[in-house]
Point group: C2
Chain length 202, copies 2
């Protein structure tokens, strides 16, 4: 099919649209990281992405529309969950992934800016909550598998275990400002596992 075999530069159905989306979301991300949500301007994003201004206005409409699509794209391209065969190592992998994201020179400021923007914009908040719902659902089976193995009590709320593991990392990142490091991530995983085994989330 043309979509698959078309030579580089060939106009493929979906190809150009996907490239425009990638360029626009990258430029919007750059602006968010550099200037925060208040500094994102659709015309400037179009210029930096080398895309027509009308394309950006027609397709994304507003800055919250652009941020919502950025979060949708992040959810689509996020790594799949770990499958290590044991709860503790699965949770350690998730904690490590969250740490890596929040400590990343680009992803960290990007999430910080988007979460801040969600405080004053309902569309951004809805997109943010959708992003985390997708991520929590992706990882919840790690806990369900542990229930099936008999490592964690029947009826454990798998999503709540994933939230419990994530929370200490985000708390430091957004609220208390205490440093984030591998020790913090490891402790978050061990604490969530200990509480889950103790039946706190059942």
């Amino acid at each position: 099919m043309n979509q698959v075999t078309g030579a580089p530069g060939t106009s493929r159905p979906g190809g150009r649209t996907a490239r425009v989306r990638e360029a626009v979301l990258r430029a919007a991300g750059d602006a968010l990281v550099d200037k925060g949500i208040g500094g994102v301007d659709l015309a400037e994003v179009a210029r930096r992405a080398e895309v027509g201004k009308t394309t950006v206005y027609r397709r994304w409409g507003t800055v919250p529309g652009l941020v919502a699509d950025m979060l949708a794209e992040m959810a689509e391209s996020s790594l799949p969950r770990a499958r290590t065969g044991a709860l503790d190592t699965d949770l350690a992998a998730l904690a490590g992934l969250i740490l890596k994201t929040l400590a990343d020179a680009r992803q960290g400021p990007l999430f910080r800016a988007i979460i801040a923007a969600a405080a004053s914009d309902a569309q951004t908040a809805a997109a943010l909550h959708r992003f985390y719902r997708v991520r929590i659902e992706e990882w919840a089976p790690c806990v369900n598998e542990a229930v099936a193995r008999g490592d964690v009590p029947e009826g454990t709320d798998a999503a709540e275990v994933v939230r419990a593991l994530s929370a200490p990392l985000y708390y430091r990142f957004l609220v208390s400002g205490d440093p984030l490091d591998a020790g913090v991530a490891e402790r978050a995983a061990v604490a969530a596992s200990a509480a889950a085994r103790a039946g706190v989330y059942a």
Copy 2:
């Protein structure tokens, strides 16, 4: 002494300064709740507080200066920690207090706006971190007392237990958007206690 016995309306040492501060911080809080950090204007705060503009500029200087003083005032006037004599009930009291604050019609939006502002302003971030450092230090002795009673292992990091308890509430409030209720607060307290007893924070 005059500070104590002066009739209402009497000019007491510190009295007028304290009243000006209270009026200005209240007006600034109103503006933050109504319009977010971008909508706070020192001249407008002065007008709403019925205080001279030059007083506000001289004393607080900038919006981040005003927000920093708001957080300092919140730390000064925060409730003292619980002293129920048992770790679980002390932690339940703290979780209930955090829930009450975040779910409060004024305090919730105020914290949300300040935390968002901290994402893009270093002075606000420093003041926010200071506020939580004070609160965490206020509650940490609940854990140290549990260590002394032998309920929790020696060497447990008391501040980390307080952070662990706080984190799930803030995670829902700021990140995932999942609802906050008494069940969530109770589970946060039970989870922190279970992990602390299991030696996760030692």
